[in-house]
C-alpha cells in the first residue's frame, strides 16, 4: 500500500472498535424510541452492497430494520425504455450502453437477445467511451444512458463537449428525490428515515432534502459507503428521529456539501429536464425521469429515430414474471427472500426480474452475499 491518505483512513474505517461503539449507540437509540421495529430506508445499490458484503445487518439491534428502496437505476429502467433500446438495436443502429443494461429484460427481449440476433450492442464503462465509438466511425451510435443524477451529469458533460454528429443519446436517466417522495407517500410505508446516497448528494448537495424531510416528517442523512460511514449515518438518523429533528444532515462531509456541485447541477439542468415517467415495478413517478431538453433534439435518439416498439410489446407477460416481486422489493415492502422465485427460477445467470440483473439490484446483492448472513451472534 502506498503512503496515500486513503490507506490510513481505510484502516480506521474498518476499525472494529468504532463499529462496536456505533452499534451500541444504535441499540440504545432504538431502545429509547420505545417502538419496534424502526424501519430506515437507503436508496443506493452501493449502500446495499456494503451492508451485505460486510454483514452489517447481523450487527444491527433486533428492533432496527434497514431496507433498500428504489436505489438501483438499472432495476427501475422501465420495460418500455428497454424496448426502445432493443428496437433501435434491431433496426441496425449501433448501441453503446453500461454493462448492467445488456441483460435487463424488456417486454419480450433484452439487448443481449438482440445481440444474439445480430444487433450491435457495445458495453462501455463511461459516456466518453460511447463518444469515442462514434468518433471512430461515420455510422450512427446511440448511447443508451441509464443512471441517477450522478451519472446523468456525465451524460450532460459529453453533450456539452460537442460530440460528433452521428452520436445521440437515448436517455433512461432517473432522478432519485421524486422516488423518495413516492415511497414516503405510499400508505403501506413505515419508513421513518432515509439514508441518501452519498455520491448523488455530491452533485445535488444535502440541502436538497431539507424540504422533503420537513414535509414528510422523515429525516434524511447523507451517508458514505464504508461500513462505518453507514453505521455513523444510522446513528445520526436515529438521533434525529428521537429529537423530532425533521431536516437533512450530512454524515459524509469529506465528499458532500450543503450546496453540492453547482457547476454540475447547472450542466445537468441545461441538458435535461425532469418529466413524469414509469419506473419499473413501481409505477409513474412524477418528475422521476430525466429527458433531454428540446434544444438538444438533434442529439436525442427519441427525436432523431423512429423507434418502433410495437413488435416487442405484444406478448403477454410470462407466468414467471407475473410472480416476480421486484416492484414490492424496490419500495421496501418485502425482502428478496419473500419472493417465491428468488434463488430458484430467478438467479443472476437467468434473471426473471430487474433486481436480479444489476450489480446494484437488491436480489443480486442478496444472492451473492446473503442479505442477512448467518454470522453467529447476530439476529
Amino acid at each position: 500500500m502506498s503512503a496515500q491518505t486513503g490507506g490510513v483512513a481505510e484502516l480506521k474505517f474498518r476499525d472494529p472498535g468504532h463499529a462496536r461503539e456505533l452499534t451500541t449507540a444504535l441499540a440504545r437509540l432504538v431502545q429509547g424510541l420505545h417502538r419496534a421495529p424502526v424501519t430506515l430506508m437507503h436508496v443506493c445499490g452501493t449502500h446495499e452492497q456494503a451492508i451485505a458484503r460486510f454483514g452489517l445487518r447481523s450487527s444491527l439491534p433486533p428492533g432496527l430494520r434497514v431496507i433498500m428502496g428504489p436505489g438501483c437505476p438499472v432495476c427501475v429502467t422501465d420495460l418500455g425504455e428497454v424496448d426502445e433500446g432493443v428496437a433501435l438495436a434491431l433496426q441496425g443502429v449501433r448501441i453503446a450502453t453500461y454493462g448492467d443494461m445488456v441483460k435487463l429484460p424488456g417486454s419480450s427481449k433484452s439487448l443481449a437477445d438482440a445481440q444474439a440476433e445480430g444487433a450491435r450492442v457495445e458495453v462501455v464503462y463511461s459516456a466518453t467511451q460511447a463518444v469515442e465509438l462514434a468518433r471512430a466511425s461515420d455510422e450512427p451510435v446511440v448511447f443508451f444512458a441509464s443512471g441517477f443524477e450522478t451519472t446523468a451529469v456525465t451524460t450532460a458533460a459529453i453533450l456539452l463537449a460537442k460530440p460528433p454528429a452521428n452520436f445521440s443519446v437515448l436517455s433512461a436517466h432517473k432522478y432519485v428525490p421524486p422516488a423518495m417522495e413516492a415511497v414516503a407517500c405510499l400508505p403501506e410505508t413505515r419508513v421513518e428515515g432515509f439514508l441518501a446516497a452519498g455520491h448523488a448528494a455530491v452533485i445535488t448537495g444535502y440541502g436538497l432534502f431539507e424540504d422533503f424531510a420537513r414535509r414528510h416528517h422523515t429525516p434524511v442523512v447523507v451517508a458514505g459507503f464504508e461500513p462505518l460511514d453507514i453505521l455513523a449515518a444510522l446513528v445520526k438518523l436515529l438521533e434525529m428521529i428521537r429529537d423530532r429533528d425533521y431536516g437533512a444532515a450530512n454524515a459524509y462531509p469529506r465528499c458532500v456539501t450543503r450546496e453540492g456541485n453547482r457547476h454540475a447541477q447547472e450542466s445537468l439542468w441545461r441538458v435535461f429536464e425532469s418529466a413524469d415517467g414509469p419506473w419499473r415495478g413501481i409505477g409513474v413517478i412524477p418528475n422521476g425521469n430525466l429527458q433531454l431538453r428540446k434544444e438538444w433534439a438533434a442529439l436525442d435518439a427519441r427525436r432523431r429515430f423512429r423507434i418502433d416498439v410495437s413488435g416487442l410489446q405484444q406478448k403477454a407477460r410470462s407466468e414467471l414474471s407475473r410472480r416476480c416481486l421486484c416492484g414490492k422489493i424496490m419500495v421496501g415492502l418485502v425482502e428478496p427472500t419473500d419472493c417465491p422465485l428468488f434463488g430458484r427460477e430467478c438467479v443472476p445467470e437467468s434473471p426473471v426480474g430487474a433486481c436480479m440483473v444489476s450489480s446494484e439490484g437488491t436480489c443480486k446483492i442478496w444472492y451473492q452475499y446473503g442479505g442477512r448472513p448467518d454470522l453467529g451472534g447476530g439476529t
Binding site: G6, A9, R14, T154, A232, V235, R262, H263, P373, L375
Partner: protein, 145 residues
C-alpha cells in the same frame, strides 16, 4: 460480539466461498488479484462496480480536460468536465464512471474520522472489546498467510 467481529473480519472469506458456489469468482470490488482486497479497484475484472460507486484517486497528470489518476496503484484517464473546482497535480478526486465529480481536500478525510469519534464518544463507558477484536483481526490475517 462474535457476530460483529466476524462481520468485519471475515466477509472476504464468505464472499469467496459463495462466489465459488456460484461456479466462478465474481468480478466484484476487491476481487482476487487486486492489490488491496478491501478497496474498489479498476482492474478489468472489477468493472462490475455499481454505477453510483465513486472511487477516490490521486491526480498524477493533467492534459486539458483529461487527468491521469492513480487509484491505489491502477492508473486511469478521468474527465474533468464535471468537477467544480480547479484540480492540480497531487489532488485527490472522486471518480464516477470516468468523470471526477469532486476534489477531496486531504483535511476532509481526517474530519470525517473526527465525526465518527464524536458520534461514538457518548457510548465510551461501554466495554469496547476493541483490543480483542484487533487481536482477532491480526490472528485471522496470520492464518491466511
Amino acid at each position: 460480539m462474535q457476530g460483529l467481529a466476524r462481520a468485519f473480519i471475515l466477509p472476504d472469506r464468505g464472499r469467496r466461498r459463495r462466489a465459488r458456489l456460484a461456479g466462478r469468482l465474481l468480478p466484484v470490488v476487491g476481487a482476487e488479484g487486486c492489490r488491496n482486497p478491501w478497496l474498489p479497484c479498476l482492474q478489468p475484472t472489477c468493472y462490475d462496480l455499481g454505477m453510483c460507486l465513486g472511487i477516490p484517486g490521486k491526480v498524477i497528470g493533467i492534459d486539458g480536460m483529461e487527468a491521469t489518476v492513480d487509484f491505489f496503484g491502477v492508473r486511469r484517464q478521468v474527465r474533468l468536465d464535471v468537477v467544480d473546482e480547479p484540480v492540480a497535480l497531487g489532488d485527490y478526486v472522486l471518480n464516477h464512471v470516468g468523470f471526477a465529480i469532486r476534489r477531496i481536500p486531504e483535511s476532509e478525510v481526517a474530519e470525517t474520522l473526527k465525526l465518527f469519534e464524536e458520534l461514538a464518544a457518548a457510548e465510551k463507558e461501554q466495554d469496547l472489546l476493541a483490543a480483542d477484536l484487533r487481536a482477532e483481526l491480526a490472528a485471522t490475517q496470520e492464518r491466511k498467510k
